[in-house]
């Protein structure tokens, strides 16, 4: 049962759902028991975790930072569905330029990408686990 490859699919927003927090618990437990998280995909409202401008109260968990930390420590890819993100106003510098916007907000460590990355992940990982809103 050790050394399996996992893909996590996060579809719920922080605050409106517990999806990013539950997925974080799952990811930590998976890594601690010898498995690999190949990719975390953010779809639907889940893309809002990648908003780099969120300022939670100081005494509350900052889920965006927690995911950035986990991804950096364990080389986990944080892939954000670009179509879902643009609709919801999560945008990197490159897309902002393309849309003529002066500001951008994609948090460091997250990458805008296509739905194909989720499909590829589901096809190749040993197990895909979704966290809904």
């Amino acid at each position: 049962m050790t050394d399996k490859t996992l893909v996590l699919n996060i579809c719920g927003a922080p605050y409106a759902s517990l999806a990013p927090l539950s997925a974080l618990r799952f990811a930590k437990a998976a890594l601690a028991t010898g498995h690999k998280i190949q990719r975390v995909f953010f779809y639907q409202e889940g893309v809002t975790l990648a908003n780099g401008l969120s300022c939670p109260p100081q005494d509350e968990i900052n889920l965006t930072k927690e995911w950035q930390k986990l991804a950096a420590e364990h080389q986990v890819e944080l892939a954000v569905c670009v179509a879902a993100a643009l609709k919801r106003g999560i945008i990197d510098a490159k897309e902002a330029a393309r849309y003529g916007l002066e500001q951008h907000n994609l948090a460091e460590g997250f990458v805008l990408t296509g739905l194909g990355q989720l499909v590829d992940g589901m096809a190749n990982a040993d197990r895909t686990v979704t966290f809904n809103s």
Binding site: F26, A29, T33, D126, N132
Partner: protein
Amino acid sequence: MASLHQLNAQHKLANCLKLLAKTDSLVLIEAAVALAVQADFLQQLPQGVSVFALSSDLQARGLLNNCSPAIQPLSDAEWVAASLEADRVCSW
């Protein structure tokens, strides 16, 4: 070819029950752990389904000690193991 059904909200139970086979398992997560202390929950399930609930989610809501003995609390590590032992995870 058993599935692990991951349920995170009480109101999704009706749809989950439509796909829940008697050889499948069910894990209650997040606020759906409230079902673990609800009087008529277990009798809605097909006979034979193994029912789990995440220990931390129960404890965070004060429900660990009230949880029905027919429902097995799972640590996060056991949750990962159950997700890998099943043939697939169906998240509601």
